[in-house]
Symmetry: C2
Subunit: 192 residues, 2 copies
């Protein structure tokens, strides 16, 4: 439980290090490597990414990126999924998004795996909110519920068929039951 004392790094020293897999994050002078994602985590991450991009990309409203490094407020975090509004996305001269992002994402999504301690993950969401993020989701795979965070508000828990809050500009009706039904990989689907 006790971290081995190591020389504290600066943010720029951290950013100069090679990327790791799973990604490493930098906060309060410490490097913390993300957990290897479990299968349920991966399914929700990729299905949700697809669901958001299906409505957000054609109209150039926003784009959802899995595992995008976002560096701001003296931390470098890699949320499970971030959604950036289109005008926030920086493109390089080839017209492709630049690798790194130096702003808080508009929407940050974390997926809590069983056995993963909750507070550090919530802390990542709060750091985003304190730096301009307008919406945070904490998906708890073991409880089948989603806790949502908005600036200056008490969080709210959503379960079953409650429509979840999403970014204002997006038109997407999505409920916890839909999200967790993805875990069945298309078997037993009740909706067409």
């Amino acid at each position: 439980m006790v971290a081995t004392p190591t020389k504290s790094l600066t943010l720029s020293e951290f950013l100069a290090l090679p990327e790791t897999k799973p990604a490493s994050e930098f906060l309060d002078g410490k490097i913390i490597q993300k957990l290897m994602p479990k299968r349920k985590h991966s399914i929700i991450q990729s299905e949700l990414c697809t669901a958001i991009n299906q409505v957000a990309k054609p109209l150039k409203i926003a784009y959802a990126f899995p595992e995008l490094r976002c560096t701001f407020g003296d931390r470098s975090l890699v949320p499970d999924l971030v959604v950036l509004e289109w005008q926030t996305i920086e493109f390089d001269p080839e017209g492709e998004p630049t690798d790194d992002v130096f702003v808080a994402p508009d929407w940050t999504i974390e997926i809590l795996s069983p056995n993963q301690s909750a507070n550090p993950v919530i802390d990542k969401i709060l750091h985003c909110l304190n730096h301009g993020t307008r919406l945070g989701w904490l998906i708890d795979t073991s409880d089948r519920s989603i806790l949502t965070f908005s600036p200056n508000q008490t969080p709210r828990l959503y379960a079953d068929e409650q429509p979840l809050p999403i970014l204002d500009k997006l038109i997407l009706l999505i409920t916890p039951i839909q999200i967790f039904s993805w875990l069945k990989l298309g078997q037993d689907q009740t909706s067409p």
Copy 2:
């Protein structure tokens, strides 16, 4: 993971059932039994209770109760620790506190054990806040941090030597490092 369909109970039907150990809680028509507390959970629960009562009881400001059943807002919850301001405590004709409480506690404290899913525990804190509780703590034993909740505010994470928010009327300077040092049961204490 899927709950067996059972006849949904009313709150008064639930309250008429005998108590269980660990306690059972009632929410949204369902009975959910609390987890058997792990040893670290028990130590923090009892030490924190003692620490609060040492300052709160002599002046009749407030009192901390472990495992007190609080029934309000169509739920019957048993937080790990609640603190009630003195004037909120109902006494029976013998001058002893009544068994049950039908108001939201002034301060609710939950201790998250490793492997315990976070959202249901946070949901209990949010239910309290939505019914008048002014302060909620979520103690994460695996991260050694404490997430605090206040009405209409984004939660805040406290770690190490950051003084924690407590009820206004109490005078108690307490930090996460002190709380988690209780786990050492008096060995290796740095403070006298």
